[in-house]
Amino acid sequence: MSISIRVPSLGESVVEGTVARWLVAEGDSVTLDQIIVELTTDKVDVEIPSPGAGVIQKILVAVDDVVEVGAELAIIDESGAAAGVAKAAVFASAASAASVASSPSASRAVTSKGTTSSPRTSDPVPPPPTPLAQRAASAANIDTAQVSGTGAHGRVTQRDVIAQTAVPAPAAAPSQAAASRTPVRRAQAPAMGAAIEEGDRVIPMSRLRKLVADHMVYSKRTSPHVGTVAEIDMSAVADLRRANKARFEELHGVSLTFLPFIVHAVVRALRENPALNASVVEDAIVEKRAINIGIAVETEKGLMVPVVRDVDRLSLAGLASAREDLSARARNKKLSADDLRGGTFTITNPGRKGNLYGFAIINQPQVGILRVGEMVKRPVVRTFGGEDAIVIRQMMHLALSYDHRAVDGAPANSFLYRVRELLESAEFDL
């Protein structure tokens, strides 16, 4: 059995690193947790430990290569028997490279240099497919020469081969393709048994997708999510907005949407209910002093949550500009790491197609997230001078997901109720 050493997740804003140093060479035996390779990202050197014991079968990236989170760095052969063979083969190839071997004491270093730097130095011909790719290819009866490689220097990886198997097979050999696909599939997703059928489109997850995926699983596993929904009459806010829209835009150069009103109400309610502006840190609850609101934005690349800092110090106009700036930069891929960190509460606004309401997953380590539902005119009952009447109002749902480890129903509900009160009374300074 082989295991891959991959670039681990190093943080929300870290998408890639540079290989700084290999501490092992191909053919070396390694133990679990032994430091294998060092990566550099920004001003941090991170040593990557081995996920298992075995023999380094293949080193896939060279020093100074830029590697993405999730990228394969090396392959470890867990079966001890293959050790000697692998080592011998590697030495042979290093010797045939000839140019590198100068001092015998450097043979280890030479080995890794000879095998890893050759793709970098010379011609544009990609390096041979990875062993896993070769195995997958032969199982699927695919010629690796026909597969376009996405690995380092165009190298064909196992993922490329799997992607290739999902490309509609030629009509002539469907049964063969179907039969031979099985082992490939098993190698990729042993536990799930997810079937890739003919004609299916296989989309490898982007770095961001993987980060989002990991975060969602982490959050769901960490926090018992509880949901509560408020139905809010936005008519007063709508009136206020209509009355001030033109003047506001002229004065501040940003359009006045509903979101700043909602954010402002949330911030005021958070100030009054600090339990929702908090984090769980081990067995303590940390109520945050600052109120930094993450506002989820769907971008071309995927979901981003830029953070507006110290929102309680911002006017409605300041908030509107800050948010416009952040979403513009999110869409133009101009966000910095700092724009994404430090949130203490998150608001997600799926926009016009957001449907009635829904429950978002908490953005860890926060304890609450508010999802804005669609705003529609609805007949509701109001009492005028003791008489009930059916009137048409702008109604909207706000759905709060909260972490029941930290927040009980009572504070969560009074927080959301307060948001509703603030929006329905529409007392905002414009």
Partner: protein
Amino acid sequence: MSASASANVPLRRVSVAPRLRVEWLGEVVYAKGLVLQHEAIEAVRSGGEDRLLLLEHPPVITLGRSSSAAHLLESEESLNARGIEVVSVPRGGDVTYHGRGQLVGYLIVNLRARGPVDVHRHLRDLEAALIDATATFGIASRAVAGRTGVFIETEPGSPDRKLASIGVGVRHWISHHGFALNVDIDLCEFDAIVPCGLADIEMTSLAREGAGSGPEFAAAVRDGVTNAFRARFGTVASRS
């Protein structure tokens, strides 16, 4: 419906006692500092408290892996003759200078105990803690996007002055190295190097910025740094 009725698992709302052990080690030669860090990493790895080692190095220039000779403006012999050691270290980054009057902090923290590992957040937290600490002496320092470290903002057009350098390593998901804060260091010594390859950055110190000087001030800085780091890194309750 709310599941509040089921909240019978006691979760105490506690004010967490600082869990960051801070030690002032006085003057420590650079190589000895590496050994102390190694020991601290092993201690944290086997479940010990996170710690901040505060110390001063006798004059030393460290060359990171990406250091180029161009960043050394004086020959090694001449530096040695002046009592400045030159050490190559297996880390990224460029040239740094450490000397008396500079507070070095090695922050040994189990990153995994703080949720998913986030090395950039760790850097930003280091910067923020230093900014908090300098604020207690009336110095408004700041972080600069794209440049790790802590800086003093200057007039528009002139270069920022660098107050503290930051560099971090991670082993077994435990951070090491940390920061070097110029307290009352002889800034002329930096002329032997171009700090961290940033030719357009001038070094400064708390003393030069007018915050104070002398041994009492140095002790006050250590207290300020201790408090700021405890506030930012000390709130992880240990698994008991």
